[in-house]
Amino acid sequence: MAEQGEPAEQSKTADEPKVSAAELKKRAKADKQARRAAQKEQEKAPAEVPPATNGAHQEHLTQAQGVQQDQKGKATQAKGQQQPKPSKQGGQEVRQERGGPSQPPNIPLRNKAASTAPSKKLPKKDNTVVELLSHLYPVQRRPNLAGVSKDVHPAVLALGLQISTYEICGSSARCVAMLLAFKEAIQAYTTPRDTSLPRHLVSHHLSPQIDYLRSCRPLAESMGNAIRWLKKLIVELDPDKPEHEAKDFVCEEIDRFVHERITVTDQAIAASAQDQIRNDSVVLTYAKSAIVEKTILQAHEQGTRFRVIVVDSRPLFEGKRLATSLMRAGLEAQYVPFSGLAHVVKDATLVLLGAHSMLSNGRLQSRVGTASVALRAHKADVPVIVCCESVKFSGKVALDSIVLNEIAPPEELLLSPIPEKSPNHPAGVATTAVTGKSAAPGKSAAPGKDASEDDEPAKLKTLHDWNSIPNLRLLNPMYDITPAEYIRMVICEYGSVPPSSVPVVHRLANEGM
């Protein structure tokens, strides 16, 4: 292609010396845009007719090379070529106008694919997206490593998969794990020549890791703050520092960050919060927060006599893990499903909650269901205390739970069946990405409704068939926002503050002012 272009070019340049550079640049620009549009189409319709695609590819390569190598004549020469000319022009027109019928044989196929691909996607999209929360789709989870950029370090790859399957769950845990994985990635990094570590590391090495993690699961607020801190740190490094020293420095700083802002902070918060637990208290908590667990265990070690109520919810059943660890520590624990909330709140004397993040308008973003717990406690005059490290404080604001949220895959709501309801039969297997679920033991996916009624001619649908029912959606939000008035106090390493002080602490801790 390139060779074909050159001889033609020479003749052309001889013929049209007057074609100005500006015009050539314009043409080059048009070519580039056409190429980009064509590439987008190709990405959308990847399974399209290979010869046509290849042909177009080769054309594009030609054009690309043409522009890159020599601006002056190549583009025009590429245009001037007889063989690919009609197809290319047709292709360009088609791409630009999107729908004009074109004569050459390979283009219409690709065109059809391009135009039908979006319409095929729309009905599928409609079935899973809840319109109210359409800004939170598509759901980010990564079941495998297909299509990952080669720049991602193996430690980060592993971390991504662990996060995606809730092996590592919880805002602090994810933040620490991410920083540790980044340490490894940074150690494995070498600066290319011509550029320096501070300039290159962030944009070319860290960014792919971060993008990959984001594709596994949306980043937590703590992770966001940590990344901002890390980028700032790296960018402010002295470029003259030798590479290994710089890398060691960064790793040490990461260790210090984790130690100061998470490990030691947790201890401080636990010490402060456990003063709230007195003898004969009844502490109520929801789902599993590492720091609340720490507080409770420390208070127990101190010898305080109290009991704990753990409220749990579907589909993650994190509270069960908390209740198990408390039980193993010898605490008197009560475990209630979310429906039993009303019954237990009136027994509680203190509610301890963990946080995903604290927002600048004083609201708490935490596991979905926390808002109901806080509301009930507030109505029953039970104090609600949130334990939250400053690394989770955020500059964002939200008025309701729709604005900032994360939607988990709806498949997580599917259940394994209860044995007595139905015989096992091979319906589709639910892709439950959840560990630690207290589902009925090891049944293959089977209907939730007894399908053994012989008088029913049509097979009864189960929740696993939800995709086939056009108007049915499953919604599985992960977070909700608790209004500030239900929260009495937020305990962070800066002390015990009311929720209205969150933006002040955020400025202090995360923005360094």
Binding site: L132, R314, Y335, K449, R473
Partner: protein
Amino acid sequence: MPSSVVGQTPSLTTFLKSLKQNDIENSIELFISLLKRRQIKNSRPCAIATTHLLLRVVAEPKRKWDAQKLIARVRHVGRRLIAAQPREMAVGNIVRRVLGVIREVAERDEDPLTDSEISGSASPITGEFQRPALPTRFSEFSPLHGAAAMPHNMHSGRPGTADSMAMEFGGTPQRPALLSTNASYAGQGPPGTSLFSILQHPQGRSPMATPPPGTQSPVTGPSPSRRAIAGEIPEKLDIKAEVIDGIKELQDELDVVDNQIAESALDHIHSNEIILTHTSSQTVQKFLLTDARKRKFTLFHAEAYPNNHEATHATILNGAQGEDDSDERWKPLTSLGITVILIPDTAVFALMSRINKVILAPHAVLANGSLIAAAGASTIALAAKTHHVPVVVLSGVYKLSPVYPFDTDELIEYGDPSKVVPFEEAEFTDKVDIVNPLYDWVDCDLVDLYITNLGGHAPSYLYRIVADHYRMEDIDLNAKQDAVVKKG
């Protein structure tokens, strides 16, 4: 005798079938054991079973009842049934309704002449009824309270058909439609005061029709003198037959209650509303289906884990499948083009800011307007209150109980903890206390509207409906009964 019960899980249908075969004592025992073992649960099946059982008790062949004996018998049976499962309030409600029926019939038979003494004595009746004095022999809570009318005043506020017939009979009040107390809210029937008409069902009257607004207890006191002429012996037959008719009307009411409630669906749900509901209640589904035929809305359906989620999923996916003889088949809402979004119970507060209405179905409604509903309902109601979202409760009058919630804890039933954590996890279930309440108490402040088969009411009005359907002396079934049927 090979009973159809053998080989099937005991339930409402098997009980109803066995009623035809067994004698009364056995049936009572069977029902008590079903209640105790929770093989029959939820208000409607219990109410249906109780009515059938009481029908058999009253209709006991070769037994002549007089009022006191019948009342005593029904009270006795009722006490046993309620003791079997005190938290199934529908059972007690039906027993009290039947007792009310019996008392009505009994009072009608006694001293019919005193009706003529009714004149402008006692307290004035509310203007809308335009009736004069209350007869002193009716208690404040009697359904007949306010119902007695002077013949010449009777026709105000009534449609014309009543007038001519009444005039014909010398201005006597209408036919006592109180064969069952619920019929007191029925539309007017052709008046007739002869013995003959009392034994017949009136033509052209639907006892179940939702009364036109503004009309109330149309019935009057018993028919006067003619009855007394009829004599003693028919009186006993009357009681049995009339009470049986009353109970049959009660059964009819139970059959059509969902349809009556659904009649007001179009008034309450409009296009493009976002509704939130909870659990697999058939009443709610029928209500929404009636509306879905004409309007498009969105429904968020909370799944009520761990006690009701499978039934909820089945209802959303498949509609009703008509397994029980009494159930009909109906399609799921999704097949009518309604977008149904299944959410876990925890997401209720998160989404409440976008919800327009919450629709709940209770397990039982208490006399002050509060309700017992499936667990999770009070969380929903509280979230709705916070966001100022109206809460509508759909309930038939049979769920309305005259009990006041003095101790709300007592009213909550607890369920199987293995639904929360299966018993296979031995260490956990051993050391950790697992609680699984089945019901929640929702305060009357959190409810905005009750829709019953009689129409829509504010929670503050329910005490009046209680008063109209139950007698004060029946509220406590354990109290000693006076020898004479109370008159006031």
